[in-house]
């Protein structure tokens, strides 16, 4: 979303009504707000944070204390009983739409003291336009706040409207934070909620089915059991997804830790050990995967053999019995309906007694029931499989099964033995690294070991849940098969069939959403990698490249194939800037491209960036690269700069700036002599000197600011 206009009234140091209209233009719009230190540039960022997500600095989240945000001069001027109001109003553009929102604070003076104010009331409203008028309406349903959350999630607020801190210390510091933020940002959280809904609905259909089954106690019992298994399956799937997520998080944090360890170890003789240890860890993972695949193969080979090898000792005996039956003509080789016909044409039955009506009807029944199952063909096929010369004889099949099983067992044992050796080497390296004299390395390594343990424990949990899930799914299948055998009235059967189809649909839907989330994440990661390349690698000239860790989604810098772990302030700031621009840009692309699937993630449009002193710690080279990256990718960027940063970036920024304002500071003379450097307030803007400081008489206690247009 792009800021079109913002009006700030009596908020923090900004006194009176301050209004900024940003220029509408095609392509990137770069604006600057220049001001001395402590003039209130940050109030601009805080105003946006307050407006969008009710961030109330210094009040511990207590809205009643929000009167503290009201401008001090206004508070001092107010007499007891006077109502005070401070508010921030802004119009944002997203796609072809606009949204105007306002958050205001109302309070009143209750006495003379500096803190004598009534509990504040914070109201969030939006502009409602009719054909004849426009008015601000409170957002009672929360729909507008939800819209704002979609446009700019709270978790990414500090990335897009950040106030001066180095980005890597805030946004990029926490794997969990980044993953969670992106989840909200990409609407994955909504998708997860949809999958949960689908599972709840699937279970509700199962319960509904059970309510129809009162006509048969047996049916009712089976349906109740089905419902219980279905619920268990749903619970296990949800639990599995949660643990998988936690494991991914821990693995991402582990990857981060390993990179940091490598960074420190590079300066010591332990580098080789750390590299070796990481290599061994990867080998152990590969080995475990191979062993797991072998175990799965063993299970599959055993299952698909249908217990054939267990029949081997009885093959000879069975062959003898069949031969005897055939020789004695008790069991003709072509046992079929023709055989029964022949028996019935005889005077006597095959047991020698004369046929009666009873024996004849027994043979008729046999013809109907037993021979329907094509016993003759089956017995013939069994006889063929017992023949040692036949290509598909049981002995040959058994020997193939046994050879496959031996192969899989060998692989599994080999993997176990390799795993044991690797773990021995890993333990030795762990010990060597743990006794390193570097305190920071020890600390990081300890944390790494904890994370490693955590990952292993998640892995074990996942394995156990998976086997539980399989068992419950197969029980559910068995119960469904059992239910099919129960005779139920037709109308009930139809109702149950409909509900069952709905249940399957709901449960397939939940699985499809889960799969789509995984696909979405993966494709976003790949896109991020590509975009970082455009925004970082192509603008720096030192041969370093930005890359994205696919697990943590965090950026790294690589040079000559090795991760650069000791980044300077400017380089890491540029990396952070490129990263936030990249995720904003990609999100917009993702939302647009989802339209072709008819998936509406909401129009978000381009993202605006408000950057308070973004060039901290940067040399001129990195500052110019950062401006270049923003020009390439950002539709709107507002720089809030004090003199030092303006002087650093001026030659690159000034030609690109489309609008400029100054934050004019009014301070009593004693405050100026105390805290404000005099040479800080004169800015050179497009060849003219602009002073942004006015001295007030000593009796004026309050420092306040107002905006002035420079262009």
């Amino acid at each position: 979303m792009i800021i079109r206009e913002i009006t700030i009234e009596n908020f923090l140091t900004l006194y009176g009504t301050q209004n900024i209209k940003f220029p509408k233009q095609k392509g990137a719009s770069l604006s600057v707000l220049l001001g001395p230190n402590n003039s209130g540039k940050s109030s601009f960022v805080k105003a946006l944070q307050f407006l969008l997500h009710s961030r109330i600095p210094g009040c511990d989240g207590d809205e009643m204390l929000a009167w503290r945000l009201v401008n001090n001069r206004l508070k001092r001027e107010a007499v007891a009983g006077k109502t005070l109001q401070c508010r921030v109003t802004a119009t944002f553009a997203y796609g072809d739409s606009e949204l105007t929102v306002r958050r205001s604070i109302e309070t009143s003076r209750t006495g003379d003291g500096a803190t004598a104010f009534a509990p504040a009331k914070v109201i969030f409203s939006h502009r409602q336009q009719t054909s004849t008028s426009s008015k601000f309406v409170p957002d009672e349903t929360g729909i507008i706040q939800r819209k704002v959350d979609q446009l700019c999630p709270d978790t990414l607020l500090e990335a897009f409207f950040f106030s001066g801190e180095p980005l890597n210390g805030r946004l990029l510091g926490g794997v969990k934070n980044v993953r969670e933020s992106l989840e909200e940002y990409l609407s994955i959280r909504d998708w997860k909620q949809a999958a949960e809904s689908a599972r709840t609905i699937s279970y509700s259909y199962t319960q509904e089915m059970a309510s129809f089954a009162t006509s048969s106690r047996e049916l009712e019992q089976i349906l109740n059991q089905e419902a219980a298994f279905q619920q268990k399956v749903n619970q296990l799937k949800e639990e599995m997804a949660k643990i998988q997520e936690r494991r991914d998080e821990s693995l991402a944090a582990l990857a981060e830790k390993q990179t940091a360890i490598l960074g420190i170890a590079s300066q010591t003789e332990l580098r080789e050990s750390v590299v070796e240890r990481n290599k061994i860890k990867d080998e152990i993972d590969t080995c475990q995967k191979k062993a797991q695949a072998a175990r799965v193969n063993i299970c599959e080979a055993t299952g698909s053999s249908l217990g054939l090898p267990l029949l081997l000792p009885y093959v000879e005996k069975a062959r003898r019995v069949l031969k005897h039956l055939t020789d004695e003509n008790i069991l003709p080789a072509d046992l079929s309906s023709g055989f029964v016909d022949r028996v019935l044409q005889q005077q006597s039955c095959i047991c020698g007694t004369k046929h009666t009506e009873k024996t004849k009807s027994a043979w008729q029944a046999y013809l109907k029931k037993a021979l329907k199952a094509d016993v003759g063909t089956r017995l013939a096929s069994l006889e063929a499989r017992l023949n040692p010369d036949a290509p598909n004889c049981i002995q040959v099949s058994c020997s193939e099964i046994s050879s496959d099983l031996c192969g899989f067992i060998d692989t599994s044992e080999q993997c176990n033995s390799t795993d044991y050796d690797l773990r021995g080497r890993l333990a030795a390296l762990d010990e060597k690294i743990a006794t390193s004299p570097t305190e920071e390395l020890n600390k990081l390594d300890k944390e790494r070991r904890e994370l490693d343990k955590q990952c292993e424990s998640y892995k074990d949990k996942l394995r156990s849940i998976e086997s539980d899930l399989k068992a419950n799914e197969s029980e559910l299948k068995r119960k469904k098969a059992e239910r099919g055998k129960i005779a139920v009235p037709k109308d009930i059967q139809v109702k149950i069939q409909i509900l069952e189809a709905r249940r399957t649909m709901a449960s397939d839907l939940a699985d499809l959403i889960d799969k789509s989330i995984a696909v979405l994440r993966q494709q976003f990661q790949q896109g991020l990698q590509q975009t970082m390349q455009d925004l970082y690698t192509d603008v720096v000239t030192d041969g370093t490249q930005a890359t994205i860790d696919l697990r943590s989604l965090l950026p790294h810098v690589v040079k000559d194939g090795k991760t650069e772990t000791n980044l300077g302030g400017g380089q890491s700031q540029l990396l952070g800037l490129a990263y936030i621009v990249a995720i904003a840009k990609l999100r917009n692309a993702l939302h647009e491209q989802m339209n072709k699937f008819d998936i509406k993630l909401g129009v978000v449009g381009d993202q605006s960036f408000v950057l308070d002193c973004p060039f901290s710690g940067m040399t001129e080279r990195y500052a110019s690269a950062a401006i270049e990256a923003l020009c390439r990718a950002a539709e709107q960027a507002v720089f809030l700069l004090h003199k030092e940063q303006w002087d650093l970036a001026k030659s690159y920024l000034q030609p690109k700036v489309s609008a400029a304002w100054g934050v004019h500071l009014h301070a009593p003379s004693q405050a100026i002599s105390r805290g404000v450097k005099l040479d800080d307030h004169v800015f050179d803007y497009k060849g003219r000197e602009v002073s942004l400081l006015s001295s007030l008489p000593p009796e004026a206690n309050e420092v306040y600011s107002q905006l002035v247009a420079l262009s």
């Binding site: 729909i143 649909m505 959403i513 789509s516 696909v519 690109k656």
Partner: protein, 62 residues
Amino acid sequence: MPNQTPQDIDLSQLDQLKDATPKNLWDLFVKAVNLHADPANVAGGDATKQTKLKAAIEKMIL
């Protein structure tokens, strides 16, 4: 001044998933994610979303 290149994101895997999914299930998926992401459903909360989704499932099958 600006060098605004339209960003692209490769969604071929999602395309493949769509191709491998029966049409009615895919349509239901689209409905489900759209109604969960729609800010207009905030007021009703989860119960409203579930009721709407259940109605969509019923409609798909009938």
